[in-house]
Symmetry: C2
Subunit: 325 residues, 2 copies
DNA sequence: ATGAAAGCGCTAACAA
DNA sequence: TTGTTAGCGCTTTCAT
């Protein structure tokens, strides 16, 4: 692969001139520049990233650390980060913590060696560890906010509150909430949001734990939901809601006639469930794009004060919810 | 961040000794090595990747290029590649072509500057372009085979053939195949496999095109499937099959009593569809792991002759298929 | 067993 | 406007 020296020789100039012609564009004779660009192109010259990184301290890469690449919840986030980054000429470094919180600090450190900035998605690290990481490299948090660090998050509490309000509006006075993983931070927000809203609307809220935020777990808790005597059930996420919905219908329960069902995330494709699942749209792809943009902003100016963006969630009403019996 | 010089100074040795102690381990006094390791650890020394890359030519990274990160089909592949790579101490570089074939060569080139080896997942590049990329850096192909280049693929033709055989065994003589995207290479393999198998088993095969391999498209072609008078339908993938299944049931058709339905990929979670969808398991996660292992092998010895691994698919029979009416 | 020194390819002063 | 040169942090001969 051609080096800057090859280009310089072929163009009959010094390597410094090649460097200038290729980069900033400052003070280079127009004719020379054209000549250099031409030969560089002819030789298919590609600047060596490692060398440039060494010389400038800028690597031209961003790192993304997330809990689980294969999780459909994080896929869109990663995808839109990658899209924005690529478009801006940044490379994307990936690390997957496989849901192991303990592995995160080490992975983040390894990442930070090769990137200019980090995006931590749904990080399980302690606030302290996050701060340590953020001090080393410009960092943007996704779906997790820590004081003094840039971050984007979805306002899950607000989403859940709005969803409960919507259900209350339909006349439901006893609502069951199928909870997600205890460790989940967004889970805490959702529970807080729905609890507060239930109080405000005078709704009796019954919280039902679940094994995991999956379709199968949803099926498993369906019976307990029915036994609770609630007229509506809201789940931590769509998968759970879907499981509940499927199971209760198997048991002959009419949805939404006898039981209203709602989820969170809007992760089910149109038509996948009948009736359509009322849910809350979390706009994950957008979060990724915003995160990438925030990181770029910070890479441009480290002295900016930390920014936080909270994306509103929108309740999407479909056929799985209806008036209380 | 501490450099090798800091460690050398603190340990009272030269940087060369530090380098030796930290790496190969060749010719270093045991006491010195211990001392160096100790101070390196105390200073939390992390070798600078860019510098090491410059000096050795080895970057310690692998690059993954795939058509669409958010696609649940590729997620598991990427996840297992990342897992194997991380475990071996490699970093993972990601590029997403967003299904744009034309963008691939450039992305691959950009990737190759920062990695020791590449994994191209379901690449849409021409054989020539793939070969060019592979000549520049050790490369492993996933779900796409090219002569002279390492690769892992799922034997989709065999999978489809086995699936059709299974359906034929149930007595179906007229089968409808809902095709996927025309450009898809695996689509060509599937069509070839099912066509050959149909001939062999004396089954009349009717091919029905679809807009895209999605649930919605499946719903859209359902009516045409019914009109075809076939007693069984096999779809390019599970999403399509699911769409068909859902729609025909809405239309009052009994599955599998009046129509047997089967898909491909085993991408639906247990219980998501009723009855369970008969399908073919493509073992994507495994493909990723195999690809990563192959790449590591090749990074170890470039002179090895190209290897190709074809993973068998297994038909999984569930409730959506049954004896012909 | 250890150290000195020459690069790896590039950028960024500083000179000219 | 252009060239010379000193590193960036590390590995790796070659001496010692």
């Amino acid at each position: 692969m051609a080096t800057i020296h090859d280009v310089a020789r072929a163009a009959g100039v010094s390597i410094a001139t090649v460097s200038r012609a290729l980069n900033g564009g400052a003070r280079v004779n127009e004719a020379t520049r054209r000549k250099v660009l031409e030969t560089a192109h002819a030789l298919d010259f590609r600047p060596n990233h490692a060398a440039r990184g060494l010389a400038t301290g800028r690597l031209g890469n961003v790192g993304v650390l997330l809990p689980e690449v294969a999780n459909p919840f994080y896929g869109p986030i990663l995808a839109s980060i990658a899209q924005v980054a690529q478009q801006r000429g940044f490379g994307v470094f990936l690390a997957d913590s496989r849901e192991e919180a303990a592995a995160e600090p080490e992975l983040a450190t390894r990442l930070s060696l090769q990137v200019d900035g980090l995006i931590l998605v749904a990080s399980r690290m302690s606030d302290e560890d996050v701060t340590v990481v953020a001090r080393r490299r410009p960092t943007v948090l996704v779906n997790r906010l820590v004081d003094g660090v840039d971050g984007v998050a979805v306002d899950a509490a607000q989403g859940m509150a709005d969803l409960l309000a919507q259900v209350a509006l339909l006349g439901h006075r006893r609502v069951c909430y199928v909870d997600g993983p205890a460790a989940s931070r967004s889970g805490a927000a959702k529970r807080a949001g729905i609890t507060r809203a239930a109080e405000r609307h005078g709704v009796e809220l019954r919280v039902e734990p679940s094994q995991s935020p999956t379709f199968v777990s949803g099926r498993a808790v369906a019976q307990r939901v029915l036994d609770s005597g609630c007229t509506a059930v809201i789940a931590f996420d769509d998968l759970l809601a879907w499981g509940v919905l499927t199971r209760v219908r198997e048991l002959g329960v009419d949805v939404p006639g006898e039981l209203s069902v709602a989820g969170f995330d809007d992760s089910l494709q149109d038509g996948m469930v009948t009736p359509g699942l009322t849910t809350v749209a979390a706009r994950n792809g957008e979060m990724g794009a915003v995160a990438a943009a925030m990181l770029e902003r910070r890479l441009g100016d480290q002295s900016l004060s930390p920014a936080t963006e909270v994306l509103r969630c929108n309740v999407i009403v479909r056929g799985s919810t209806g008036p209380a019996a």
